[in-house]
């Protein structure tokens, strides 16, 4: 069965939203720890991060939300996603230890390519611009699954699924045995269906954040629509 990863920004409401996402059929929760200067993110995630920071969501508060969310959905892996500056400030090893202690499963550091601190266990990312050599390197170091960035660009919903994806999946399959989950620009059940036909899972971020603003019930329905499309 194809995996469905839903991104939520760490906030006091996250545990409730995560429960709704899991009830709707999410397999993994990606939990954003907000950063003031998120280079890889488009406007929706950037604004959600700004709001979370304005509400005081710093590293310790995010770890607390991680623990609370883990308590609510104990069988669902939760993967923190953030930027290197937070780890530099908190301490790289301490961050890794405290994420594990709070119930996190691995992490994603979006501005830490595989050659920087390769020993830090994390889900690696590859992009359409990645060379075969870099894809193989990321595959060798990745923790559990490999994140395929479907577009040359930042996060955010797009009208069509990236035309770069089939080629990226094909190249990566030849080089990497880990499951491949594709993200960036996936927002509708139609996208979910077409990407699910290529990759082993999908990651939905910006659109999920927008729907989450309408509350848990809306998020549950939205996630269920993606789940249905993936399973069809």
């Amino acid at each position: 069965m194809k995996k469905l990863v839903i991104y939520l920004m760490a906030d006091p409401e996250t545990p409730e939203l995560a429960r709704a996402a899991v009830e709707g059929g999410a397999d993994i929760i990606e939990l954003g720890f907000p950063f003031s200067d998120p280079l890889a993110d488009g406007p929706v995630v950037r604004r959600a991060g700004e709001r979370a920071l304005a509400r005081g969501m710093r590293t310790r508060e995010c770890l607390a939300v991680l623990a609370q969310t883990h308590a609510v959905v104990p069988d669902t892996p939760i993967v923190p996603m953030t930027y290197a500056s937070l780890l530099e400030a908190y301490g790289w090893e301490r961050f890794e230890q405290d994420v594990q202690a709070a119930g996190g499963s691995s992490m994603i550091i979006v501005d830490l390519p595989v050659d920087e601190r390769p020993e830090l266990r994390r889900v690696q990312l590859v992009a359409p611009t990645s060379t075969d050599e870099r894809i193989a390197l990321a595959g060798a170091h990745t923790d559990g699954w490999l994140y395929l960035v479907t577009v040359t660009g930042t996060t955010g919903a797009r009208g069509e699924v990236s035309s770069a994806l089939p080629g990226l999946v094909e190249r990566t399959r030849r080089l990497v045995s880990a499951p491949l989950y594709a993200g960036f620009g996936i927002s509708t059940p139609e996208h979910a269906r077409s990407v699910g036909a290529l990759a082993d899972g999908i990651v939905v971020g910006s659109r999920a954040l927008q729907v989450a603003e309408e509350g848990p019930e809306a998020l549950r329905e939205y996630v269920a629509s993606l789940r249905g499309a993936l399973d069809s």
Binding site: D37, L39, A89, R117, S130, V149
Partner: protein, 377 residues
Amino acid sequence: MSTTTSAFGTYGGRYVPETLIPALDELEQGWRDALADDSFHRELHELLTTYAGRPTPLTLSERFAPGKRIYLKREDLLHTGAHKLNNALGQVVLARRLGKHRIVAETGAGQHGVATATVCAKFGLECVVYMGEEDMRRQRPNVDRMGLLGAEVRPVDFGTKTLKEATSEAIRDWITNVETTHYLIGSCVGPAPYPELVAELQSVIGREAREQHLAAEGRLPEAVVACVGGGSNAIGTFHGFLDDADVRLVGVEAAGAASLGSGRTGVLHGARSSVLADEDGQIADAHSISAGLDYPGVGPEHAFLRDSKRATYVGATDEEALHALRDLARTEGIIPALEPAHALARARELDAELILVCVSGRGDKDLAEALVALERL
């Protein structure tokens, strides 16, 4: 745990999304090839001489600081009015070698944006410059110049609305258009190889200044002083004197944007360096009357020079810079930009007599802002 070591100790690196790594590899290779290619050096030298107006003079100021001999390296006399053109010309020659036809840049004070718009006009390249709305307000003449030169200035209306956000947006544009676009970064910041590349292109300042000072005085200055925002004019000036152990190197930051003086180790815009950040690694807002120094980060080589004690870094307040700007205008007939006015403010108080200061740009762009602020003093 290990950190990738670079030419700058544990500072520097490539803290960017994977999407950009192949482009940085390509840039690094292109840069190494260019450095080894005489035709690159000839083309750049020709442009710097016949287009930009190098070498710039070294002027002895006689009335600004009585009792001292302060030599001014006159980057304010360079075409477009600031040292930024040294870097823009070098990078545009490199971008053409790499086959890129679209240029994206960030700008704070607008000097780098103008330099970039200028070289793009000269070579017929598409040019997009990101600029914070607050900086567009206080540096209006440069916004108009970029427009006249054919560049598209894209306002950045979130966050601090200054150089920090403009840089983030320029990098996001580059992530999106990386296959056709060269990111012409304006300072010695960003992911490798940019800090090293920009320092090399700006080091023409220090090489010339050292020779000119030796010719004028028969010896080297006791101290070399330059302002530091991202730090490109300072690094270019310092590079001329790094091996002269007796020459003190002094960088002057804006007191409200002292990334080296009051910052901590952090990661911003692709590099590990000294940044203004809170204890959680969230980047703090910088505050300076000078848009060019109003940046919470600094080039990784400066952090390295600070730690190794080869250079020292001090601060100057808005008021001190304004006084220095007015005093240089009235004693020497030179109106400096607000950025080098910070360097001038510290230089005249330094416990040294023979001093070289980089006047990194001219003050025309700052007149409206500076005159109002001087009224209030």
